[in-house]
Symmetry: C2
Amino acid sequence: MAQTVEELVEGLERGERRALARLLTLVEDGAERLREVVATLYPRTGNARVIGITGSPGVGKSTLTNAIATALRAADRSVAILAVDPSSPFSGGALLGDRVRMQGHHADPNVFIRSMASRGHLGGLSFASPQAVLVLDAAGFDDVIVETVGVGQSEVEVAATADTTVVALAPGMGDGIQAAKAGILEVADVFVINKADATGAGKLESELRGMLEMGHALEDPDTSGVSPWWPPIVRTVAVRGEGLDEVVAAFGAHADWLADSGRGARRRRDRALHLIREIALEQVRLRFARIDAGDDPLLDKLADQVARRDLDPYAAADELLEALDGG
Amino acid sequence: MAQTVEELVEGLERGERRALARLLTLVEDGAERLREVVATLYPRTGNARVIGITGSPGVGKSTLTNAIATALRAADRSVAILAVDPSSPFSGGALLGDRVRMQGHHADPNVFIRSMASRGHLGGLSFASPQAVLVLDAAGFDDVIVETVGVGQSEVEVAATADTTVVALAPGMGDGIQAAKAGILEVADVFVINKADATGAGKLESELRGMLEMGHALEDPDTSGVSPWWPPIVRTVAVRGEGLDEVVAAFGAHADWLADSGRGARRRRDRALHLIREIALEQVRLRFARIDAGDDPLLDKLADQVARRDLDPYAAADELLEALDGG
């Protein structure tokens, strides 16, 4: 028998893994009931600390995330990991990968790992992942880690969702710093140099410090009276569990700063704003999709006219929006 | 004196590089005049062949793109390269990079290279890059190459814009095939295995063939009567200019197939549809931004209510959309 959303959310609060998995699948699939899911569990959210981890392919993100989870467990915090994979827009979640990653945690009910693809969403993971975070938050995990590949706008979206954003780097990657361009540097609350036992870790750290100092020098002086946050750089060798206590300590220090400076409240408000916008845009996309598939295929007609150069694409977009506003 | 858009487009048609650069900057900045730019030049577009090149960091995309441009020039085709960089959402175009990349082409007026970031756009590069392609198309280039990092949804967006999509791979990358997941495989019209002189090229090619055959086996039988396109796999050593003639031949074969099968017209129609939707969504985003910044900061109020858990985000999105429809 299908359970109601209310029953699933009650199961979630009792710690039932089946309810958790089912709710995440509803989010991932972009199901009709997604609105009901979020409305029902939303009052139970707002307690988890959300940590974003991003970095280029090859820096050892999965291993690092796993090691961070182990360190957080040692500090007696329950941990959920949401591994967001924007490179597989057409495929489902990597279930085998989840099982491999659970190694070392599979006997621990206070660790939960889930990979997520964006299969059900027109708006992609910027729409789905914050809602999956809400499910994990309502499930009562102390920490929700969102791990994503840091190329593209995904890292900005991680930052829009997280309380604390970790940018992971590793020495010896051709485009290590190059990939960690302005965008990534600006969103980082904590830098982790993983594989710190490899050649070039010192060089990478000094390059990074140089870029950070240059960035700070270019910033407008802060007149808010709030002491600014300087992102710490922590070296780890995740595969051997080295440096993880320092990472966990950096999370704690950043959480304290968020609370003391009032920036935590602002960040949560910005996160709410981001979520409202993404949901509203998804509704608009769904309306477009309905126009496309409807009996009066306005968008099809417009596409033909634009392809024939009878109409320019801005004029076509105007017609589409008028149809929406009137409909 | 500022030139009018009409003057700029006339300059573009006379082959003036200054007009071309100026129009691309208007696109990149998302200027107020962007609508006028596209409306004015749109009737002059539709002649260029658009080639998308995507692949993970480290496969040698820039070198490959440059070598392909050289091979196309040898076939007496003029070439524009748009290097789209989704990893720098906050920074401007990589001008130094463009100058480095122009090496070997700087004396040739029939090659043009431009890097592009997404600084002016709420909708990012999925909004900006198709419009930059329109500028380069109207400028009269035979081939417009759009090069992008193939992690994230960018490769899908490249495919939505291109006549022919190249997925570049290289042996010896830990996540070579892994990164080339379902999404990338499905959009590829031509595969290039670059650095084919390195160890593992044969293994990569046979893995790729295996995945392609598995993919074909899973497809529904085609009852349209159109002979299907089997993406060729071409090996190159771009840094030594090897294999590029085969790549250019593959482009020609694919162009012939697009014309013969009627799929080219369908692809151009889908491209028009994609562009209309992106423009319409950008207009909605701009409306949201105006609500945020306006005297009646509805979105701010909603964000506060959602952050306090007084309102769920779907109900807030409904209020936002109602305000738009009424406004």
